[in-house]
Amino acid sequence: MATVTSLRPQFKASPYLIGAGILFIVTFIYAVYLKVTLGYAAFNTTNYGVFWGFPIVVYDYFLLTSVGLALVAAVPLALGVRALDPIAKRCVWLAIAALVGGVAILFMELAHPLRALWATPLNLQTASPLFWKILCVGAYTIVLVLTALALARGARPGEVPRPLAILLGLLALAIAAIAGSVYGMLVFRPFWYGGELPVVFIIESVMGGLAFVIFFTYVAYGMAPDTVPQGTRELLAGPLGVALAVAVLLHLLFTLARTVTGLWSYGEGMQVWQYTVSQPLYWLGLIGGGVVPLVVFATPTLRTQPWLQIVGGFLVAVGLLASRYEFLINGQLVPPFKGSWAPSLLEYAPSQFEWVLFFMGVFLANTIYAGLESWSSTRQE
């Protein structure tokens, strides 16, 4: 049985926080330097067809992970499932960290991020999924911060105002679904097009959220499984592990279904599936981020092994990033309406700047998380 004491991690944040903070500052300065000196040419995107590159992949990845964590947090906060109380606060902290990391990358990628802040809400382009996505992310940020403040003031998960928690869950659900629609609505891009995408994005969000909370719970306890409270360990090895297995299974089913159907399809644009399955990244996502973690979390004897949980959670997190990359980039590889001078399949690999942005986002998210964990522990003590 989880107790309130299990909400208090014995996490000493200093080395983690300082290390992540220093790495963030270094990567941020280098990213700004590259952006100032090279301008938008620092990106490897082109007018030939790959318009959205690796930074958008990472932004989507972080955003979907954030809303996935919020959905997991909503189970105890909104639905009152008290068994999940021990991880509720960590989910909220991680959701904030992932959100900040993702949005920071987006702001470095966008040409006019500040203009987006006023031009989007004031012009009310309700026909655009991106309008709704930006609007929902804005509302989600506010609700997430209010939830975090309630928890930081010492409220137990059950004491967070339920309307707030319900709103958090609904906004998270909406963002994941709309993020899927951003791609799924594009009928002339058959690699993306499909009504199932919002559902896939919701499932993958939850999958990412579960993987993150399992992995970072051990991080919070200094990667020393013995120090994790018994109730929390049982939670990770029990309901959360099983839930992750189910999410991974659904993700695999969707991925395989899309792959097989894509390989059988004749339409122009679907030839990218042959390319996709020829890439190691696809198999990394499928096997490394899907099959292996599924075996770990679906097998009762393996699921209870802390180090296998850590490795499994990490693999899911990495595999999801690989899947997000091949989904978003490969969906643009067939050039839209170009002549013989354009290759049949475009080539794209992240530039040095795009990799720097990725690491900047990762280190920023880790800094925020470490800071919140440290602050939270201090407050409770």
């Binding site: 490897n44 987006a116 122009e268």
Partner: protein, 252 residues
Amino acid sequence: MTKWGMVIDLEKCTGCQACTTACAMENSRLPGEAWQDVLFYHEGRYPNVKVSWLPRPCMHCENPSCVAVCPTKATYKTEDGVVLVDWDKCIGCKYCMIACPYGVRFYMDEKPVVQPDLREVFPGDGDRIWNPPYRMPDHLADRKKGIGIQPKGVVSKCTFCYHKISKAPKGVADLDEDDPATREYTPACVRVCPPKARYFGDLDNPNSKVSQLIADKRGVRLKEETGNKPQVYYLAGGAAPVVPGERSQERG
């Protein structure tokens, strides 16, 4: 209300690229990033090779997906049926480029397509991305309509030479370079076309040349299946203009 549209007769088009050059001069385009382009295709293998081409401006669709997806309404449709970009509202998210089935939108901040990088040879003043020697006169430029030299960090596209056509006499059916009364209001690509393969006029006026050509010669639109309903029609002898895809060649 006028609904401007274009007809391109593929049986007349020689693929000479005069339209591309005129557009680049008129609209201060960087080489390699032509709002108006001619796409060349080859099919088959030697000795049975067929070369075909397709002039491709912005389609200024009736139901444009680029307008629908733009989160800030920077891309909009005018009352006379032209799709424009308000550069003061564009945030550079490029969703319109993702959502355009015809690949007619450009983000000029990318790596240069040709060397030397003319943005460095002719550096822009203010937030203009470059300052070409053949630039459009400043008094014609209009950031709210995406006309002129493109600023940094925004998306641009063919405007149907809106700085010309918007000044045409009210109620005119066609803008024709052969008519002295409308010559100055005719889009650059139409005006320079040597074989006169392009026609520009009011699609809502049944007496306009473009309406008659579409009816008489069975004008067709590209990618009807997307629902965008282009306002650029092609005349291809009654057949659909063939744009060979890689897939059709693979499976052929």
